[in-house]
Symmetry: C2
Subunit: 303 residues, 2 copies
């Protein structure tokens, strides 16, 4: 470095540009059985002794202890510390909340809209995290409030679909419902897609919100749609919900829970055959033919 360069940098005042705070928000998904005793009883009841307990898509939410949005539920997250990569922030926060170190983590969007947080100029980097919920030990309630896994349900209503030669315009309404024991949260999000020759624009807007902090209802929908899309394009991502070994039916159920529609077993198994390896493990004592357990064929995942 020349003297001249040193001098220049010394006089350079980075703070002359206004600086936002950088936050991460995390949509932590996991597929789990309902923990409520009511549900468990139902699953264990004599009539259903053969039935596999139903699992659901869950997302981790934390109740806010402070303004703004006091008492509302929010995605876990926090501010980026100096000397920390955004991805590192996300991983740190994730570990603090769930005690899980190696979850699958993927950036899915940046939300920096003015007014999204009344505390000031805050740009949120939103991540999607996928994990096997059984591995996770939720941090006990602290000042940051209670943390719980909410069952997530997303319904799409097609409001408008106009496909022409030179333009397309699609309008969808998404109804998000989140539920943990007797707590029910909800949000309605409008998705507007406009396409022309040289411009495409997709916008999301919250039109209704019950108990969800900030614009997190929007982020949750956005994250879940990203998960669905990636699952359709390339199912490898789904394995992140599974433990080390699993049955093929468990894996298929995971796909179905994400996609929201059933798959044909025979075809599913053929498609997965390359990605899994049979283990010695067998699940017995379930009132039906025992199932082989499989593990990932890691080498095949990456060609």
């Amino acid at each position: 470095m020349t003297e001249e360069e040193k001098e220049y940098l010394k006089q350079y005042d980075i703070t002359k540009y206004q600086q936002p705070s950088i936050a991460t928000d995390m949509a932590v998904f996991s597929i789990m059985e309902d923990e409520s005793t009511v549900e468990q009883e139902k699953n264990r009841s004599a009539e259903n002794y053969r039935k596999i307990p139903e699992r659901k898509m869950k997302i981790l939410l934390i109740q806010r202890g402070n303004y703004p949005y006091k008492d509302c539920w929010a995605l876990p997250g926090g501010f980026c510390k100096k000397g920390e990569d955004v991805q590192e922030t996300a991983r740190r926060e994730l570990f603090e909340e769930t005690n899980v170190k190696n979850a699958y983590l993927q950036p899915i969007g940046i939300f920096g809209e003015v007014g999204r947080d009344p505390r000031g100029w805050i740009i949120s980097h939103t991540f999607m995290a996928l994990m096997d919920g059984k591995k996770c030990k939720l941090r006990a309630g602290t000042d940051a409030g209670e943390a719980h896994w909410f069952a997530i349900q997303l319904e799409k209503k097609e409001m408008k679909k106009e496909l022409k030669e030179d333009s397309a315009s699609i309008l969808n309404e998404y109804c998000l419902k989140l539920q943990y024991e007797n707590i029910e949260l909800s949000a309605t999000i409008f998705e507007k897609k406009e396409f022309e020759q040289f411009h495409e624009q997709v916008t999301y807007e919250i039109t209704e919100c019950e108990g969800i902090a900030f614009d997190h209802g929007k982020l949750i929908v956005y994250a879940f749609l990203a998960l669905q899309k990636q699952t359709e394009q390339d199912g490898k991502i789904v394995f992140n919900f599974m433990p080390e070994t699993f049955t093929l039916t468990e894996l298929q159920k995971a796909f179905e829970i994400i996609l929201g529609y059933p798959l044909l077993t025979a075809n599913f198994r053929r498609k997965m055959a390359d990605y899994v390896i049979e283990t010695e493990e067998i699940v017995e004592g379930a009132g039906h033919r025992p199932a082989k357990k499989f593990k990932r064929n890691v080498g095949r995942f990456y060609q």
Copy 2:
């Protein structure tokens, strides 16, 4: 808003968290003929009067007028202003540099590594922008320096590939070469992919760099790989390089330039048939059978 809430927010000092500067960097790609007179002569020469002039993948770079990396070439970009979404920043910068408003713009990564910029803590949001180069009018050289389209060439060397049942480890070397008239820039980037049961990690590291500012060599490789991957998965993105109407051969060449390998014409045309509509336009006077011109079938792009 309650009084209590107002009070809380009033006392809330957002600046107690250290704040980075937010920048955008843009990898602006376009497919163009070489502009140098030498090349043009070659294309026009008598022997090749039938030949279609060769087009190349280009990326827009700007020569830095100041420290750090004075005189080196950098991706266009700038700092995020208050009241501006990151995406808005990108679009504004893009317009300032190229005079193009509606280019395809996509976020592809966040680079916030410590030490990536000697001026301070700067988090870069990297975007990929695709445009038809003919539409673009480069801003004349100002204080920010000259802007030019550099031909981009990327070569991959596979250094190691270890695929086992329970882990995979892949090491690639990418040699990036950029060229505009007699200016030649280069960089070597190592890509390390490590996969285990519950953890996957991909890292990029610059091991050599000639004339490229900051970590932009890495960003360019990263962006171009993203472009290649998306083209393989779903070719729709390629249409962003094309003008309103084009021949199918032009479109095929665009694919081939991105992918780096030739396609079979018959198959390519069948695959594209749904996405294009024949127009009345015809290209004549080229020493071979005239070509029909097509336009996008916008409605089909979005099902």
